[in-house]
């Protein structure tokens, strides 16, 4: 279904929620320059490719295996059909991470008010109620290069007061850890299925940056377990340009994989 009223007229734009999410993810890489864009999940992957095809042409994308790939091919492209420009084995990925030439968009099973992310475990880490994927590279990523998060199911269980196991490091934790942690720490955006968030507040707590057309600020507040900063003039997430929408629908994702990640 279509959900858009983002032109401010209330008119149905025919743009789906998943498409607003892709645009919001793409915008995270605005002005990124020649850095590795590492998206996790279909929606962020489409966002990174869309950014590369439009306003962020210099970003570097991997093939998901051990190479950098040329261009921004359709999301369903078979591995055998990708064109590769350089080797990028995992050991070299750490060189990139620790050099800071990367902006990752990770997923978060929980995220909290100061930007801590959890992908390790729900409950007591010693004997978890639910074992998750593990901290993976989140601790190192979050203190070495720009980091954003994608949360496809925004609820009071995912946007929590305090995460159970701090994997990706938020602002307050980094501050406490000192200059070793804060020097390159930069949580840029959180994109959920309901809206876009950042930490551009005096105390670096989470702020609503925009809400996706079809949701309301009240919906978002009700689905968030902590107090969000809500600017008086908060706007809807921007509309994709006609060129962006065409690239997304006809080039990058003609099979609408995006709609499996986020229902309208």
């Amino acid at each position: 279904m279509s959900a858009g009223t983002a032109d401010g007229t209330g008119a149905d734009t025919g743009i789906t929620r998943a498409e607003f999410c892709v645009i919001a993810c793409a915008d995270a890489w605005s002005g990124a320059g020649e850095v590795m864009a590492s998206p996790f999940g279909t929606i962020p992957a489409l966002g990174a490719r869309l950014a590369k095809l439009t306003f962020a042409p210099d970003v570097v994308l991997t093939d998901g295996e051990a190479a950098l790939m040329v261009g921004a091919p359709p999301i369903a492209t078979k591995a055998a059909d990708l064109i590769r420009e350089a080797a990028m084995p995992y050991r070299s990925v750490f060189d990139v991470v620790w050099s800071g030439r990367r902006h990752i968009m990770m997923m978060a099973s929980q995220i909290d008010r100061t930007g801590n992310q959890n992908i390790s475990a729900i409950g007591d880490h010693h004997r978890p109620k639910v074992q998750l994927v593990g901290v993976r590279g989140a601790p190192g990523n979050s203190v070495n290069h720009p980091t954003s998060y994608w949360v496809p199911d925004h609820t009071v269980r995912t946007f929590v007061e305090h995460v159970d196991v701090v994997s990706g490091v938020g602002y307050a934790r980094a501050e406490t850890a000192g200059p070793g942690a804060t020097r390159f720490h930069d949580i840029r955006r959180v994109v959920s299925n309901l809206g876009v968030f950042d930490f551009e507040t005096p105390d670096h707590t989470m702020r609503l940056r925009s809400f996706h057309p079809g949701t309301t600020v009240d919906d978002i507040v009700g689905a968030t377990a902590f107090a969000l900063t809500i600017p008086d003039d908060v706007a809807e997430t921007r509309l994709p340009t006609p060129e962006e929408l065409d690239l997304l629908r006809t080039v990058l994702d003609p099979g609408s994989l995006r709609d499996r990640d986020v229902k309208s």
């Binding site: 295996e65 051990a66 901290v135 701090v166 070793g180 720490h185």
Partner: protein, 296 residues
Amino acid sequence: MADKRTTVDDIVGQLSSGMTIGIGGWGSRRKPMAIVRALCRSDLDDLTIVAYGGPDVGLLCASGKVRKVVCGFVTLDSIALDPHWRVARQHGRVEVMEVDEGMFFQGLQAAAWRVPFLPTRAGLGSDVLTINPDLRLVRSPYGADSPYVHDPVDADVELVAMPALHLDAALVHTNRADTAGNGQILGPDPFFDPLFLGAADLRFITTEHIVENGKLADEGPLSSVVIHRMLTDGVAETPGGAHFTANPPDYGRDEAFQKEYAASAADPAEWDAFAQRYLLVAEDEYQAHVRERSAR
């Protein structure tokens, strides 16, 4: 020059209960599964497994061989979390030292370089430091007046001191190897296999095919021979030895088999059936079952 050819059984015979064992590969990619299966059949237990975890960790946990796992994740790649790992963790059956993937790399590197730790930002501010209370920080000895401080922010900076991950034994699987113990990886990523070997006292390679010393250059560019013989004590030929994990260009991941493995975590009866058919049998019988299965 020593001929290092051996067998999987001889390798397992050199291991003992309570050892810390590093396993190469990454997730469900190029894991030394023939040895993992042999470990599952063995009477060894109380092992500490150090790995970029995949089904090696899941199988050994489900087989009751493991006391502790050192890892940043346990994944099957196409299945985000190994369900056998989930069961072991949620039932409190294994201890875990969970660290950032990059900290793990530095732990292996420190062991291979014979230094007690390496400094890193990774881990600062995260719960990696609270769930592993024995981890320590280290303060840079270079202060603001030091000629070596490039940026004043780094003066006296406090970083994580990632301890060396010393291994009693390391096990890796390669596409090719030679009789002298040189190892060749023809796939796109050597992962951290040379470092696992460098961090270990006992170092073993299993491989798809062993060639004469000097003949690896016929199999692929010399730059793909990333494991030199100073890093190895024994090499065993085990065709299909990484099955069901991905081992390109020899073979890809057996996704259907992996699904069957994952599904067997659902209840003990299913796991018993899986173990009876695929683990408590000799490797050639395993490979025959796999061939039968894919012919169905």
